[in-house]
């Protein structure tokens, strides 16, 4: 069941970034923090690239596909999750556009980005909860030893989701950079963030 722990661990990374963006927006709103747009952009990029490149392919190709083959239980939830994965690009584009408006000095920019972020965070919270509360327990219930081995093998290959044809980003290094640049107490305060 290593696969489920990996999924839950990746959820924790995403939840930590969402928590950090929410904290910074609160502080900016109260006039206690100047926005670091590069840092905000890098965090939004992480929320886009990490699930797209590393997280969702594991779920769709290995976990959900295997579960569907085993049982009809949870079919509605899986269909919804797959649909939500497919719609990922539109959601992140809306968030990126709102951040662009905010960084460009748009009068309503801060509030609009705040609203776009809340929408995104709400969506992601519900998405992850649906997975952890409904679908992952079904994997625990229905998967055989053979299933777990097949999923684990798939996850190992998924370190490169394009099967060796594409370089993925070094998310561990990016995460450490985000922590280093984020303001205390959520980060180490070494900002402003510098792009590579």
């Amino acid at each position: 069941m290593e696969a489920l722990r990996i999924i839950e661990d990746e959820h924790q990374s995403l939840a930590a970034i969402l928590h950090a963006v929410r904290y910074m927006l609160k502080e900016i709103g109260q006039g206690k923090l100047q926005p670091d747009f590069r840092l905000l952009r890098a965090m939004v990029h992480y929320l886009d690239a990490y699930p797209e490149q590393r997280h969702h392919p594991k779920e769709d190709q290995y976990l959900f596909a295997r579960l569907k083959a085993r049982t009809n239980e949870g079919a509605d939830a899986i269909a919804r999750l797959e649909q939500e994965h497919a719609g990922g690009e539109a959601r992140i584009k809306a968030l990126e556009a709102a951040l662009h408006q905010y960084a460009s000095g748009d009068r309503d920019g801060f509030d609009a980005f705040g609203r776009a972020f809340e929408n995104f965070a709400d969506f992601y919270r519900n998405h992850m909860l649906l997975e952890e509360r409904e679908v992952l327990p079904l994997c625990r219930k229905h998967f055989t030893e053979e299933d777990w081995e097949a999923v684990a093998a798939g996850f190992r290959d998924n370190n490169d989701p394009m099967g060796g044809t594409r370089e993925t980003e070094d998310f561990r290094r990016i995460f450490s950079k985000l922590v280093a640049a984020a303001p205390p107490p959520i980060g180490l305060g070494g900002g402003p963030y510098e792009d590579d």
Binding site: A15, H19, R125, F175, L188
Partner: protein, 253 residues
């Protein structure tokens, strides 16, 4: 029994600690193998810090502690430090009026006293693990943020090149972003061969990083096993890992 431990650095047998008539720790058996991360999880007040303090010799105890190949009986703190046991306490306990670098140098004091003058090289290794400490090396420790303080506390302990590093709630009071970074660093320490006994309330993160785990409840070891097996145990999931509730907590604030 931790059968996964090869070349045991620490073996604790039937350890008991009493506060007056109240027994805070009852017949605890714990072992840590060389290069392993072993975690003790459990709720607040279960006796986790008591256990670490007794192993270190800060608290009186009954039972037996074998450390690095010799029987200590009831440990004495000075001897345990000299023999290479190092505890990073929950409150970090830094010298706030001293610089980051001076705090680190103090961590090497015992080795220096024993004639080992290699602290310059060890400090470079610590800076390699914690580049932020290098950036802040001339700052007073009292001006550091919570995450930086935790890094300095761990860095100072590493300056002693410990045979066993004991971490008491390293994630306590830290934001999720930094907690993840701290656990990434703990995993990196294992890769570098450091043996670690990790006490944590954050069971999810601790079980993710550890090789072997004990569950401590009301002063007694209630369960033990390889960390990945405990993480899959329905009783542990129900009591300590929740059902996705962590995200809701984190996202609600």
């Amino acid at each position: 029994m931790n059968a996964t431990a090869v070349n045991k650095v620490l073996e604790v047998r039937d350890l008991c600690v009493s506060y007056g008539k109240v027994e805070a720790l009852h017949n605890a058996n714990v072992s840590v193998g060389e290069g392993q991360i072993v975690t003790v999880i459990g709720p607040n007040g279960a006796g986790k810090t008591t256990m670490l303090s007794a192993i270190m010799g800060v608290l009186g105890s009954r039972g037996r502690v074998d450390f690095d190949g010799s029987v200590e009986g009831v440990p004495e703190v000075e001897r345990m430090v000299a023999r290479g046991m190092n505890l990073v306490p929950e409150k970090r306990e830094l010298f706030g009026e001293m610089s980051v670098e001076d705090n680190l140098v103090l961590g090497a004091f015992q080795r220096y006293r024993m004639g080992r003058r290699d602290h310059g090289q060890t400090m470079e290794e610590v800076y390699d693990i914690f580049p932020r400490l290098k950036e802040r090396r001339t700052q007073l420790a009292g001006t550091l943020s919570g995450g930086e303080r935790q890094m300095l506390a761990v860095g100072r302990a590493l300056m002693a090149k410990p045979k066993l590093l004991m971490l008491d709630e390293p994630s306590l009071g830290l934001a999720p972003l930094i907690v993840r970074e701290i656990f990434r660093i703990i995993a990196e320490l294992r890769r570098r061969g450091v043996s670690i006994l990790l006490v944590e309330q954050n069971a999810r993160a601790a079980l993710q990083v550890a090789d072997y785990a004990y569950v401590l409840e009301t002063g007694e070891i209630a369960m033990e096993g390889p960390a990945h097996k405990l993480a899959d145990d329905p009783r542990v999931i129900e009591a300590y890992l929740g059902l996705g509730g962590k995200h809701q907590d984190k996202l609600a604030h």
